[in-house]
Symmetry: C2
Subunit: 442 residues, 2 copies
């Protein structure tokens, strides 16, 4: 869950009005989340544009016509998603052509692409697929590498209409590879990212602002600053609102911030904590194992979602019983009896146990109480113990988070990952934490 | 990911027009997913209402006024989310009061609730919080058990306006406990769920329809039928479109479908496969362990997300190397060398290994290739091997799914869970699969 604090993107806000029209009964019935808004909103935001509106409507022809007419009157750029497929309830193309007063014309090039796609998969094309081979008479075609329905592009009345198919794996590459460059060419969004994003971890928003204040003071109003807080992470976006700073100057300001942040600086851009840890582990040719209770597989998932995780990730254990802790992680029974499973001692035994079981250089363990199952209760508090096993020592840490279960789990995972990240940064720069025994440091 | 096929809810569609107005720059910038649409859309859908439109706009006063005016002219019921908080960018209450021509009045009862909430948490109330103590002069207050901003309810011009705070843990219980009953009292939605939902697993939509056709034929047009397909699951919703069937008759039709479905029937309602498996395990006082590679913690997560998982879930192992398979699961090295890690033999060794390590009665293992890291490539195929270890035997199964990585992972998890579910249903009814050795059956 992201709880943004100051979400307005830095950079000048273009005067043009962008609207996103998402079509589909499944969105209105809550059967599918509106991921198109999340994806397209973020992509445009990075180029200095905030959507003025997103409207979700049914697949009914009347609704589409009414809404499109209203939006076309107000907006300069309209992006639609969905309703371009081969079946009878895919009516968007026809309805909008009528509102625009443009005929649809058959395009043999689209037909060839559809036929080619079917033959590649060894399937027979049904005639209704040819419905997708029509384009606007005065419009262009956006090829779809992952599906049969191409996108459509129209410029009319000084406005732009861009229609995209609904499946995310078709829409997303079309948007970044075709739509963004076309909009940039026409000056409708910035040709490069609107801001330089410094991603930080383990520091709160106000502490971050205080730390960077010397840089902000020096640049004054020439430097635009916006913060966006996630669970345990805060992004700081630097921009040049009036265009007074060159890209080189913006880079320099960012580098000054990076310098001031020290270990709190995580990366430029959008990489996840797991990705940053993975890159550090690969660069140092080290391996990692994880052991978890409270986070129930979430920590392992954070790594296994990455491409090439097997290069550094040895594996993970999810323990839900003391038997599991003893048999898989060699946690001593007397330790579990004396301190209990939710303790710093148990976390340390789990980290060391999984590192030894899997022959990993580093290990992270999470044990704890994530609070009530129901997220709606008043202030349930999660008590979490983390342990970090490194080649030169093992440490534990206690955390206490108020909030619903899902949030506590996410914060615990992020805290564990950030601790690992800091340790890996120190080991890369030779500034390791104090070794457990003198001489053990490498 | 849900890919609904026939999402229109069964039951009569009321003539009243519902609109949802979601406010927040963070939604338009893709920083937060629009979970309110998903939640409210689904809640209304269950009561026979489909939202006519969802509009997401910025927090700007002008935008709110313009959109609210337009929506209020068209809709009969408007629900708004967000913008009710204490800070200066929370303007919704004031802007809408102006459009409605209603003054806002201070309500000492709201003030008392806010003061009480702050004192309970031992924090000092800042004066800006009193902004939340205003209600519409001719309106009501919807108390908020989990936050300071109450909801507001207005009936005017024969229409209903319901304003809710943005945080999901505040909005969701307010919606189900207060808004749904109020709307039902006024006859604006059904007093009970609009349909009887049979959830099935492991059967495709067309096969499901064919299996149930005898029931559909007998009831004819009196019975409304709609299907909604997820990854490896299909929901069948039965309703009485013209109100011709009583609830008892609808129950009887559902029971006939359940009978015809046999093991393909999973549950009534909305429970997950993991929940159904967990309930079966608890009823039979059996325990479960999981071992996974390709699904990287997703299978363990499915169980650890459940309340009370520790009652039946022993734990899980995520293996990303042969060393992990050997040390944690006792997979024989010669087996891994001969057959490889992506093989039926390895899956069986993993399932048996994790069951023995954790002393669990049942175990499920997933190993395989989930396809390319990039979801956008053409037809990457995932090859998955599953194994199921039960008290009376162990079996393996090969699956092959085309599609992007995330989809393959989800389908593999669902296939594994469904296999376990069927085995548990059989063991409950005494119809176990053939035992490995005669006499091993209990």
């Amino acid at each position: 869950m992201v709880s943004p604090s100051s979400p307005t993107p830095a950079g000048p806000r273009p005067a043009k009005r962008f609207e996103l029209l998402t079509l589909g009964d499944e969105l209105l019935l809550g059967l599918t989340a509106n991921g198109h808004l999340t994806f397209i909103g973020a992509e445009l935001g990075r180029r200095g544009v905030m959507l003025a509106r997103n409207v979700t409507i049914t697949d009914e022809a009347d609704d589409i016509a009414r809404q499109f007419r209203e939006s076309w009157a107000q907006a300069d750029i309209i992006i639609t998603t969905g309703g371009l497929g081969p079946t009878c309830d895919d009516r968007t193309r026809e309805v909008i052509a009528e509102v625009l007063g443009q005929p649809l014309v058959f395009d043999p090039a689209i037909e060839a692409a559809i036929v080619d796609r079917f033959s590649k998969f060894g399937r027979k094309m049904t005639p209704n697929n040819l419905k997708q081979a029509y384009k606007f008479a005065r419009g262009e075609v956006l090829p779809n590498a992952n599906g049969t329905a191409p996108g459509l592009w129209v410029e009319q009345d000084g406005k732009v209409l861009c229609m995209l198919p609904g499946p995310p794996n078709e829409l997303q590459p079309m948007f970044t590879e075709q739509v963004i460059p076309r909009l940039a060419e026409r000056g409708l969004l910035l040709a490069h990212e609107a801001y330089m994003q410094l991603r930080t971890a383990g520091i709160g928003e106000s502490a971050l602002e205080a730390k960077l204040q010397p840089v902000f003071d020096r640049y004054g109003a020439a430097l635009g600053v916006a913060f966006c807080a996630h669970q345990g992470q805060v992004d700081c976006r630097l921009s040049s609102p009036g265009g007074k700073l060159t890209l080189t100057e913006l880079d320099a300001a960012a580098a000054e911030c990076e310098q001031l942040l020290g270990e709190d600086f995580m990366c430029y851009g959008y990489a996840s904590l797991a990705k940053v840890c993975g890159d550090l582990l690969r660069a140092q040719e080290k391996t990692l194992a994880v052991a978890e209770t409270a986070t129930g597989g979430l920590l392992a998932s954070a790594f296994t979602d990455l491409c090439g995780a097997s290069k550094f990730f040895a594996g993970g254990v999810v323990c839900y019983s003391n038997e599991a802790r003893m048999s898989l992680l060699d946690c001593p029974e007397c330790l579990l009896e004396q301190h209990g499973a939710i303790s710093a001692e148990c976390a340390v035994a789990m980290a060391t146990g999984v590192a030894e079981s899997l022959g990993a250089d580093y290990a992270v363990a999470v044990t704890g109480f994530t609070g009530s199952c129901r997220g709606t209760q008043v202030n349930p508090v999660g008590t979490i113990f983390l342990a970090l096993h490194a080649p030169h020592g093992v440490w534990s840490k206690e955390l206490s988070y108020p909030g619903p279960r899902a949030t506590v789990k996410e914060r615990a995972v992020n805290a564990a990952l950030d601790w690992l990240r800091r340790e890996l940064v120190r080991s890369q720069t030779g500034h390791n934490a104090p070794p457990r025994q003198s001489g053990a440091m490498q």
